[in-house]
Symmetry: C2
Subunit: 524 residues, 2 copies
């Protein structure tokens, strides 16, 4: 079998400035040249990420400062994440609901830590009407339409939801209340980065109410575990389950559980958080219930969320210098079939086989694209689907087919092999599982290589500068030391791992006694 | 078979003030007494609607003026609508994407009619930070954090999307661009009503770009037809397909297609609109493409949307004085099984049969709730599930089961019959189809009875006052006459039906010649 005539993976002269792909239901536009490729991860991780987000057609910056446009291909990945998580939430007894976008300013203030945490970065609606400018220069804010009380565009919905729960909860029979919301939220971040930190982002926020502290803590832990399971089994991203230190806790929480992932550049990324709120919001909004002994008590609360930030984690965990690498479980297109042919007769013969394979795989729930575009060359298609991270590519060449063969290439390892047509359905089905596993294994191996135990501050700083990754070290448990280390090194305590063993030691910074190691890292 | 001992449908003394239902994944709270029932539709339609929305646990007003909270049971219905529509959009070649919540004020102004239409009711973000008040009274807007340009919370997204499309479209190969967005939007309505007219609402907005006028019109018509199909086949609501008059058109459109439904009180409700935008937004945002002859042309556009308003249409089309009536295709719970028993042994025996039926129906994709609560009486459960509109109720009584019988009741007609246990699965499956059809037929018959042709203004006014409904009449085609009739009668032209026949006539108001009848009605 020879593909010697193919320009693969890419030819410098194959330089198309703008084209258009229709696949499944997507109509995606490609502006700019694929031929330029991506910056190398090893040389400039940040530029690599930005270019990849653009070239894989995932998202772009909008005209509104810090707000992104999620493009159809990027949104299709997010939809897969959403659907998977939504099912997991429902399987654990939660229902979806919808609460207002706007929060009265006074509500935000009712929980002291909460307002402290969010006041500095919130979009404020002050007026409800525009009018024509008197000088004819366009529309201006109508000063007569000033709101009596300003409204905050929700940065998170604890306050508006707990003010609602007050009316929903009277008795222990109303508990637990297990609600989730899929929504957009706004935090006026000064430095933004697509998916990782944007002024507006999409997320889900669970808000639950319970009769006992123990039950609320159990819920908090359960949802952290749901997130961890999703990250590991669907995204293929291994995570550390842990607790945040007091200074990294959610504003208004008694305890914040988190899952922390490690990116390929050695920086950590907080991928999801689950908060035990104690009775803080119940007290702030006076949410009480009568228990089985008919005594009034304040309710116990939790909240938990993941966001479009997960898209950033997904991209930075697996992708390479040729583009996106997607785990099959979250890939909008799992298999692409590319025909190699000359003339309509050859295409017709290949199409028959390609469509039969497509039908057979789709019947198994596998999403398949037959890329029969005649406006671009096969080498271009190869590079294009590599950039978009499609896990499996099937190449159907006229000459190979005459010998009863097809070529199957996997995106993760870039391995290619020829198979008999009769077995390709089975090979592909198995390969998708194998790729899902391999992606996770590769990320797990990388993480294992990048958790370093250190026992002195010198060692800490050296590892941080030369290698990065998670650094496991003793800490004296004070916010002062945490802050000092952060100021001096930019490393933060990502979490106190839940599986940390008791171990006598001394704080790397102060030498004070410590009983557990925590994980430090520079983080997104 | 006797259910003589049951309190059915309702007992005045069965008066529980607050309770809680767990069904499938819902945890729904019930405050207030079911025993109070609903106001009668015939006496006060408006009060009936408000109470039904509340008692069926669909939604409630929030603390933020005009914004609603969609409760879990209401949201579950909306999710079914969403999923169905989303599939229809994808089947017609559209992809989802996400665009920013905020629109720079200057963007809104770029299309003259558009800003005219929306400036009077938009929420304006002017600041991006709060700070602690100097007098310690809480947080205030930080005057130092004033935005250079105010941001509008999107009332609809044409402007921000067309400003993005400018970069996505260069060539005819980039077209058509078929994108949809599920989002929240804000229009600062002065008089609001849950689901029908709220300051914030949930909707989808399709925004497409085409190379030719003909193709854009075809898309506009196709999406109107998608909406009509959804309304009729899923919601069970017959609709008139038509064109809006110029004065009722979307701000910025060349033509607005709509589907108009008739509510049980004889008022019309616009259930969906599909706009042919011509080249208006393409010109406003300079979106051009090079055609196959390499000439630059402006793109042709469409936009189309339906919203949580459909929830209002669904409720007001079918429900009755006992509560919600849901078409099976949109019911979160299609079948509820209520056991009638004394003691745990009887319950155990019934549970076995109930769970077997539940499993069998769920295997067919039918959603079933076995209501084995022991805290409320069967009569209460009956009324509760009637209020929530569950299409089919199966009553499994101990004594009946001994004779191999169950009772099956349908929500739409309130008919009850006994069946042998062996056939219940088949009976229920067929019954769901029958209910779906019957609900649509009933609404169609009602509408047929409430479209009245009139040929004079006197007749017009009389029908409007005594009977309501759609009034089919000749109109001279001018905005002046339309406005005059509206001022004098509060009736508006709902649409020019697409299937209106050519017919010589004279305008009911001015006596001027007319060639087609249009549909008038008072409307929501």
């Amino acid at each position: 079998m020879t593909f010697g005539e193919l320009v693969y993976p890419f030819s410098k002269d194959n330089h198309i400035e703008s084209f258009n792909i229709g696949f499944n239901n997507f109509k995606i536009n490609y502006s700019g040249s694929m031929a330029k490729g991506l910056p190398k991860r090893s040389e400039d991780f940040s530029a690599w990420y930005n270019e990849l987000v653009k070239k894989a057609d995932l998202a772009e910056n909008s005209a509104v400062r810090g707000c992104m446009v999620v493009k159809p291909y990027g949104f299709a990945i997010w939809e897969k994440m959403q659907q998977t998580l939504d099912k997991m939430f429902k399987d654990t007894g939660h229902s979806n609901a919808y609460f207002p976008l706007f929060i009265p300013k006074s509500y935000l203030s009712k929980e002291a830590d909460h307002v402290e945490g969010f006041a500095k970065e919130c979009a404020v609606v002050t007026h409800y009407r525009l009018k024509n400018a008197e000088d004819g220069s366009g529309v201006v804010v109508d000063p007569d339409a000033k709101l009596e009380e300003e409204l905050i565009v929700r940065p998170t919905s604890e306050t508006v939801i707990w003010s609602t729960y007050k009316n929903w909860i009277q008795s222990y029979r109303d508990l637990p209340l297990l609600v989730n919301q899929w929504a957009n939220v706004v935090r006026w971040e000064m430095r933004t980065r697509i998916f990782l930190r944007t002024a507006e982002f999409l997320w889900q926020e669970g808000h639950t109410a319970h009769a006992t502290k123990a039950e609320a803590i159990q819920e908090t832990e359960q949802m952290m575990e749901v997130y961890a399971t999703f990250a590991e089994q669907f995204m293929g991203v291994p995570v550390v389950r842990g607790l945040k230190t007091e200074s990294e806790r959610f504003a208004g929480a008694e305890e914040t559980y988190c899952i922390e992932a490690l990116m390929q550049d050695g920086k950590a990324l907080q991928a999801g958080t689950s908060h035990f709120l104690g009775q803080n919001f119940a007290k702030a909004f006076d949410v009480t219930f009568s228990n089985q002994n008919n005594e009034l008590e304040h309710v116990w609360g939790t909240s938990w969320g993941v966001s479009t930030r997960l898209m950033g984690a997904l991209i930075m965990s697996h992708s390479d210098d040729e583009g996106l690498v997607l785990p099959p479980k979250l890939a909008p297109i799992q298999v692409v079939i590319v025909p190699i042919y000359k003339g309509d007769d050859q295409l017709a013969a290949i199409s028959e086989k390609a469509n039969a394979l497509k039908d057979a795989l789709q019947a198994k729930g596998i999403s398949v694209k037959f890329d029969d575009r005649d406006t671009v060359r096969p080498g271009f298609k190869f590079a294009d689907w590599e950039m978009k991270g499609v896990p499996v590519r099937v190449t159907m060449g006229h000459r190979d087919l005459e010998q009863g063969l097809v070529e199957i290439a996997r995106r993760d390892t870039k391995e290619k092999s020829s198979y008999k047509v009769e077995v390709m359905e089975e090979v592909i089905t198995n390969l998708l599982d194998e790729i899902q596993e391999n992606i996770y294994k590769k990320a797990s191996d990388f993480r294992a290589d990048n958790i370093t135990e250190v026992n002195s501050y010198e060692e800490f700083k050296e590892v941080l500068e030369t290698k990065g990754g998670f650094i496991s070290a003793h800490w004296d448990g004070t916010a002062e030391t945490e802050e000092l280390i952060k100021e001096e090194t930019k490393a933060t305590i990502r979490c106190i791992p839940l599986d940390a063993k008791d171990e006598e030691g001394v704080c790397i910074k102060t030498g004070k006694p410590s009983t557990k190691r925590v994980l430090f890292a520079k983080a997104y």
